[in-house]
């Protein structure tokens, strides 16, 4: 893992890889993240940079790899997945978050989005299934409850080496 991190740094900073920070543009060149529709959110969530430029240090990089590895527990994975899906960072998944989530899933172009009637129906169904306290948003525990019963989450939530 250290090797991959230091490959992302420009040559002159490789000696200090432990303390250097890699800018976001470099992180996004990783093959696993390149094709991922949540790439920006992943960088944002794992970055501990004070300047909010979403750059990642080696510790952040390790964090990211460990969460996505096969040996992470589903609690950790679902916790981070919740943070990744929470587009406005308000601690709950409301309708706008869900809408952006579905748009990320179906693709970036205009023709790949669902129609607004379909989107309404879909969000209505999702909230019916997961919103236990019926407040119109999904909080962390509701999300973890739903995800724990989903058989595909454990399989597809992992990155390979």
């Amino acid at each position: 893992a250290y090797k991959r991190f230091s490959e992302l740094l420009p040559k002159e900073e490789r000696e200090n890889a432990c303390s250097a920070r890699v800018p976001k543009s470099q992180i996004l060149m990783l093959p696993e993240l390149r094709a991922n529709p949540f790439q920006h959110r992943i960088c944002h969530v794992f970055s501990t940079s004070e300047t909010r430029d979403d750059s990642m240090s080696f510790e952040d990089f390790l964090d990211m790899l460990s969460v996505f590895s096969d040996s992470a527990t589903s609690d950790i994975k679902s916790h981070y997945a919740f943070r990744i899906f929470d587009f406005d960072d308000d601690g709950t998944l409301d309708r706008k978050d869900l809408e952006q989530l579905v748009n990320c899933l179906t693709g970036q172009g205009e023709e790949s989005r669902l129609s607004s009637a379909e989107m309404e129906q879909l969000i209505q169904n999702i909230l019916e299934e997961s919103d236990i306290d019926k407040d119109g948003t999904i909080n962390l525990s509701e999300f973890q409850h739903v995800v724990s019963r989903s058989p595909d989450f454990a399989r597809c939530g992992g990155l390979q080496r």
């Binding site: 094709a35 991922n36 899933l105 179906t106 169904n125 299934e129 595909d152 399989r155 390979q160």
Partner: protein, 570 residues
């Protein structure tokens, strides 16, 4: 890391040592696991397929890998318990001697068996023909049942009872396959149980767990986006359709039920048509392939392969008819897929059953008094187990040839045509999708043949292993070069379980012909290890009667109903 370091300063020396040793142990275990993963067959190939095409198709390839391993283990089982002692005794190693079977109180006429191994000078292509049809020189090899005419093998002072070993090895490989499939399907079953118990969760599952994080290729990512969009739209449409169905009027309901009964009648008619044609063709082929006038001609080879050809045609045309009919029946899309799949599974497996049934009707055909001395048609089938083994062998070889031929002559030209030819018709034809269910049914069909055939032809699992090994690479190349992933992806968790359930059905279906051959039909008196017994099953009661009486009593007690039923239930 910082918090861990702070903690370690506070601990005593003993705990520090424990912690460092457990860390290094974990590291060592991880290294060992990493090394072991190199041994897993095709791990890298399957990973790259998963990355490019998603987990649905990957589950097909890991299923194929499972079958290769299963067949290899079955082959090792049969080889070490049946073939190896025979080989050892034939060459006299380990001071072993053979006790050949001496025919006792049966009419001599039953024991006439002259396998026509090629004698004298023959053309080279007879070898090729024999290889394809399992006659001639192959008949007198270890490949078929008829060659194992040994009663016992004496190694130094130990007596190795070959008939008993043959029968027990058969039971062992059936039980092994059964247990292994059950073990693999238990995990899938748990997932399905949870999944089905909460049908209200399908949308959340698709949205939150829909993205496959293993995808690294941007082209595959675009396809995954499209497939997710398609899947979500399909689900929403299906929900609307269900609402519409619930609001149907009485008149419409009657019309639809009438239509469904009609299409089911057509399905049954198609199935009976297939079965009848297979029956007639098998009878025809059996009657005419014994005609030695033109024994070496191509026509004779074609006649011998006629049942296989007809079965393959039926397996190809049947699903086409079924998918046409299902469109008329107006079910929800998910149910349509399931029903078509069930019909195809039934068609494929029943075809094999009908073939075997027609073979038996031929073998036990006692038109006049042909059966009296031996219990089976000894004139045409002096060694009927080898004949059945030969049919299974032909089916397997033909299946393999068809898969290779389809890959070579249909898929690649199609790709070339679509890529270079811009006619509207050809473009509408388009790239073929990788139909997972069709491919899976193909290999399950092959595996059922292998299970049935192994009793009659002990080296068949080796052929099956090599066949599936080659098929893996062929399918992989076809996949990478010609197809685009299916627009309707089947989810990995449910598809694994589905494959294993159908495989289990195939295995249970294989039990029936084997049970009937072992227990009901008299074994050939002219060849094979069971010529001294009435049926193959009789070996076991015979051996049990030779045990000391105490053991006998215990075994009889175990076999009695009062004990066996609760034992099996638990």
């Amino acid at each position: 890391r910082d918090s861990q370091q702070r903690d370690t300063e506070r601990l005593s020396r003993w705990k520090k040592w424990r912690r460092t040793s457990s860390k290094s142990l974990k590291k060592a275990l991880n290294e060992v696991k990493g090394l072991l993963s190199y041994l897993v067959l095709w791990k890298h190939d399957i990973h790259s397929i998963e990355g490019k095409f998603g987990t649905g198709i990957q589950s097909y390839f890991s299923f194929l890998r499972f079958l290769v391993l299963l067949n290899f283990i079955i082959f090792i089982l049969m080889f070490s318990f049946v073939t190896l002692p025979t080989i050892i005794s034939n060459y006299g190693t380990f001071n072993s001697t053979i006790a050949y079977i001496s025919p006792k109180n049966t009419d001599d006429i039953c024991t006439i068996y002259e396998p026509s191994g090629n004698k004298g000078l023959v053309y080279f292509y007879t070898y090729l023909k024999d290889l394809l049809s399992g006659t001639g020189f192959l008949e007198v090899t270890y490949l078929f049942y008829g060659y194992y005419s040994i009663d016992a093998v004496w190694i130094r002072i130990m007596r190795y009872n070959l008939p008993l070993a043959y029968l027990l090895a058969t039971f062992a490989y059936l039980a092994l396959s059964f247990l292994w499939i059950i073990k693999r399907s238990v995990e899938g079953f748990k997932h399905n149980l949870v999944h089905d118990a909460d049908p209200f969760q399908s949308y959340c599952n698709k949205v939150f767990a829909g993205w496959d994080f293993c995808i690294t290729d941007p082209y595959a990512a675009r396809l995954k986006h499209r497939s997710l969009q398609y899947e979500l739209q399909m689900d929403l449409q299906e929900e609307k359709l269900k609402q519409k169905i619930a609001e149907r009027s009485m008149h419409e309901k009657l019309r639809i039920y009438f239509l469904r009964i009609f299409t089911n009648i057509i399905v049954i008619a198609v199935l009976s048509g297939c079965f009848y044609s297979i029956f007639r063709v098998t009878v025809f082929s059996q009657e005419n392939s014994n005609d030695t006038d033109n024994a070496n001609s191509l026509v004779n080879l074609l006649v011998q392969y006629l049942p296989s050809i007809v079965i393959t045609l039926a397996n190809f045309i049947g699903p086409l008819i079924f998918s046409f009919l299902i469109g008329l029946e107006d079910y929800t899309p998910a149910f349509e897929i399931k029903l078509t799949l069930m019909r195809c599974v039934f068609l494929r497996l029943a075809n094999i059953g009908i073939l075997l049934f027609s073979l038996w009707s031929q073998i036990s055909n006692c038109g006049s008094d042909k059966c009296k001395p031996c219990g089976y048609n000894y004139k045409l089938y002096p060694c009927w187990e080898s004949d059945v083994g030969r049919e299974m062998y032909k089916l397997m070889i033909f299946d393999f040839i068809v898969i290779l031929a389809v890959a070579l002559f249909v898929d690649f030209p199609r790709k070339l045509l679509v890529n270079h030819c811009s006619w509207k018709l050809v473009q509408w034809f388009g790239h073929k999708e990788f139909e997972i269910s069709d491919n899976v049914l193909e290999i399950i069909y092959g595996q059922t043949i292998c299970w049935i055939g192994t009793f009659f032809s002990p080296l068949l699992p080796a052929i099956a292993t090599i066949k599936y090994f080659i098929i893996f690479y062929v399918k992989k190349i076809v996949l990478i070069h010609t197809r685009k992933p299916a627009a309707r992806p089947i989810r990995a968790s449910s598809s694994n379980f589905f494959f294993l359930v159908v495989l289990l059905i195939g295995l249970l279906l294989a039990f029936i012909p084997l049970g009937v051959s072992i227990a009901r039909i008299p074994s050939s008196k002219a060849c094979g290890p069971f010529s001294n017994f009435n049926t193959s099953w009789e070996v076991i009661p015979d051996t049990v009667l030779q045990f000391p009486t105490g053991l006998q009593q215990m075994l009889f007690g175990m076999a009695s109903e009062a004990f066996a039923v609760p034992f099996f239930v638990i």
